[in-house]
Amino acid sequence: MQAKRTIFPNKILPYMLLVPQLAVTLIFFIWPALQALKSSFEREDPFGFHTTFVWFENYRRLFIDPNYVGSLSKTAVFAFSVTVLSMTLALVLAVAVNRVLRTNRLYTTLLVWPYAVAPVVVGILWWFMFNPTIGIAPYLLRAAGVDWNHRIDGTDAMILVIIAASWKQISYNFLFFVAGLQSVPQSLIEAAAIDGAGPFKRFWTIVFPLLSPTTFFLLIVNMNYAMFDTFGLIDATTQGGPAQATNILVYKVYTDGFIGLNIGSSSAQSVVLMIIVIALTAIQFRYVERRVQY
């Protein structure tokens, strides 16, 4: 791994410098993760006196549990939809901002702040908008002849959390797309214009392909976001309901472990989640380091 050409000769100092970070990491990250791994292979008796080693029993039960398999597919639908929706909107806005000259800072300011809104607050905002008695969204939907009820209808509930989660993530994607667009050399665009490509053609044949590293990076980050950072949002809105319709993996791991107190199953779920994060991070580093590049 890279270091400086010349280095300080001290022997003890570097360890001292590393101690705080390593201590926190070992105590609050590595050790608990190992504990989760360990208890994912164990079963506790109902009184918590006795644990037995059960090999992959927890995992086996997990994957034959229709609730868990359902949660997996809900998570996939949720993550995919949030990623596509928020990235599409963000790209459109980023392209637009990149076209305006004087007012682009103003627009940017008005578009980026939702990044700073906590997911749980986002949940409350949209829960309020969709409130069945006084919310504006059901009111408008009723007027349009749509029968909306996310408290009973699982699809409605899923759409609600997807919209809320996407709303928050637009700002993040927008900033990265703007940065990506600004790094497309102006000379290329001009060359394409001289070659007779109109603005839309230029976008699809020149700009969009050159944005592919950003797009790929954001795909991964958004999947990550939708799967792991939306706990508060779900908790503030549907709480996984109705009838498990929005019970995504992180929410389920919490309810099963912390409320249901099923340590073995919850730990196995944690391990599955870790594998997912590790896979996402690995993909991100493998391909983003090298970039999808020309």
Partner: protein
């Protein structure tokens, strides 16, 4: 822009204005709701224009809060959030810059191992190790305390990577010149490296402040004593008072107050914010 097409320009602005409306509208609605009296939410549609109860609602929430929801006055929760967010940001920056310094400017046995241990934190968000981490904090007697809220969250691979990346761009000769000038490792760190890292530290602070402020699950786990509630988790309790319709005017006043500090940070320090966001992801 290459060609001048009025229609395209019009379309561009239309798209942006629709975008801004989508982004702003939910918050506008929340703000409007926070300025009305409790009676305005009984029937029909939410009010769409601000009402006269702004100061009254905000004052009530800041000073008293809704005790039936088991939440303290907002002023206390805001203070807790502020303490938590600032401490997390400062803590993360402090331990990350030191470890990045060790990794870049020294060579020592197990350097690569240390790097990987730090790297692994990327792959272990709180959400995937909730129960065992809770147990560790409980065993250490850190439940219902500021250290319990803060310390488990201050390990940060991204901050370490950002500093590592930046340190690698600092010319080797600068450190060599400092050594010839008689500066030892800590002196070099304090006199040269730290001042050079100022903008990076500031940018990172903005991002990490927001990170600390929006934490929800962790405070939910480690605080049962309302004196340690943060505003982001406390708000959830307000919104979820049993089956009764929440008192939307008060809830939304709390929502606006909970959003305001980090949003202001983003707007006022936009340049640093963008730098911090984009660079930590490199």
């Amino acid at each position: 822009m290459i060609e001048n097409r009025p229609f395209l320009a019009f379309l561009t602005h239309l798209v942006l204005i629709i975008g801004v409306v989508i982004v702003v509208f939910p918050v506008y609605l929340a703000f409007v709701a926070s300025t009305h009296g409790s009676g305005d939410f009984m029937r029909g549609l939410v009010p769409l224009l601000p009402g006269p109860h702004l100061l009254e609602n905000y004052g009530f929430m800041l000073n008293e809060g809704i005790s039936t929801a088991g939440a303290p006055p907002l002023s206390i929760m805001l203070l807790n959030s502020l303490v938590m967010a600032i401490s997390i940001a400062v803590g993360k920056i402090a331990i990350s810059i030191l470890s990045a310094y060790a990794i870049v400017f020294f060579k020592f046995p197990f350097r690569l191992l240390a790097f990987w241990i730090i790297f692994i934190t990327l792959m272990l968000p709180v959400e995937v190790r909730i129960i065992p981490t809770f147990k560790v904090v409980a065993d250490l007697g850190m439940l219902n305390s500021y250290p319990g809220l803060i310390i488990p969250l201050i390990a940060s691979a991204t901050a370490t990577f950002l500093f590592r990346q930046f340190f690698l761009t600092v010319p080797d000769e600068l450190m060599e010149a400092a050594r010839v000038d008689g500066a030892g490792p800590m002196k070099f760190f304090r006199d040269i490296l730290l001042p050079l890292s100022r903008t990076n530290i500031a940018a990172l602070f903005v991002i990490l402040f927001i990170y600390g402020w929006v934490q929800y699950l962790w405070p939910l786990l480690v605080t049962t004593d309302s004196r340690y509630y943060t505003v982001v988790m406390g708000i959830k309790r307000l919104a979820a008072t049993a089956d009764a319709e929440p008192q939307w005017n008060f809830v939304m006043a709390a929502v606006i107050l909970a959003m305001l500090p980090p949003v202001l940070v983003v707007i006022l320090m936009q340049r640093l914010f963008v730098k911090g966001l984009v660079e930590t992801e490199k």
